[in-house]
Amino acid sequence: MEYFTENILSVSHLTKTYKDFKLDDVSFTIPRGMIVGLIGENGAGKSTTISAVLNMLSIDSGDISVFDMDFRKHEREIKQKIGAVLDELHQIPHLYCSDIDKIMKRSYMHWDSHLFREYLDRFHLPADKKVRELSKGMNVKLNFAIALSHNPEFLILDEATSGLDPVIRDEILELLQDFVLDEKHSVLISSHITSDLDKIADYIIFMHEGRIRFIKSKEEIDTHYGVLNCRNDFFEALSPDDYLAYIKGDYSVQVLIRNKQALLAHFQDLVIERATVEDIMLFYIKGVITCQD
């Protein structure tokens, strides 16, 4: 990953050990103005990483710096600038949507009640309804309204768009793109809906079994990576330098090509499909990795 002059988040050698799982030496940075997607299978360590970034758990070793500040020493200041939407985490069910405005304006220095009401209108959320009367999707929209209404600089979303219908999910994705337009804000989004990340992410971090397997820009993935379906004999003819991973089927082989332009220069008739984020994830988990990129 390129290193920009100012990072909104720096994670360095983060390690956390549980009985059956270890988050092992995780390091990455998130520059300002970027949307970074965090992908991985269930149990890969995504939520644990996000918990560590939000100071929700104590880490064994490593450093986490948000806005160039240590979370343990500047927790209040950092959280003033972070908006978080986490999966299955809703507001207290007995409160009205309007109660939340009163609570948040006493908590956040830059809480904007007018903006919060605008989001309630935009997402069709009635202010006079109790949280427990809202559907799951409406609760997610409410969480987004809250996360965006105190003018945060950094959004952290953990499976935040699951449960939303495609229309509102598309609207949320647009909001996120607008959010980073000024190049001062950033988004870290962990999601199984890889098509969303295909649409909006600037960088992809792939985690597997507690470790980061790759960090790539979306542009690099789109330009260089591809998926080739070919017969076994053609696959045997390829040089191992041409591909990162493969999955052998009964009659064909799926190959993750690392430099499709170079391969197309040799085999002009080849059909190499665009590699999506989901493709890359599947190759890394189910395929045979031939070399680390």
Binding site: S47, I50, S51, L54, M56, L57, S58, E75, R76, E77, K79, Q80, A84, L86, D87, E88, L89, H90, Q91, I92, P93, H94, L95, Y96, D99, K102, I103, M104, K105, R106, S107, Y108, D158
Partner: protein
Amino acid sequence: MSGLVYRDLLTYYRKNTKVTYILEVVYFLFFLLVLRNIYGAITFLVIAAPISMSGLPATMKDLDSNYKGMISARLMPYTQRDIVTSRFKAAFSCHLLYLAEMLIFCILHHAITGDISWKTYFLLFLGGWLSAIFITCVNLLSSFITGMNAAAIIYLITTVLPVALFLLIMLTDLYEIIMPLFTGNHPYIFWIFAVLLDVIMVAVSYLISVNRFTKQSAKL
């Protein structure tokens, strides 16, 4: 941390149904108008009101555990120490309403019966509040160091035990032994001891709660 205190208090009052408030009025009127003697005053001021006063920690623990209320709080711009402090503040702020209720009870009870001295009302009021502080501290401490089931059991014990002790004292000779401690010639030693006990209990429960809570990890 006013946001968290406001959140806890608002949640506590929103969670209580109309039935809860109706029952509060029924208890108040029963001890004022039906059982209108010293025993009614003692029961309301020293037993019923303190038990009602100390309900917030158990209610919030239920919401923290079943609705991830504590994780929501952790996402807000507060440290873990702030969260514990605000919970303590909210729990003791809750006392204010009940203290006002107790004061109104004393005034109305005196107006209706007229046979209890203001000194006795004051001592009953003070005794009730001191026991409420103690019970609240126990419940706050249990909410931070135990799980939901254990906290609920402890809350139940702090509700049943005062009632059981009260009945034991009133229905046996213990009443004749204990009452002079409160109203005799030198009751100051007892009251000073009771106040000191509460101060120590508040300090100890707060420090242990902060210590244990800052070591916990929130589970997403």
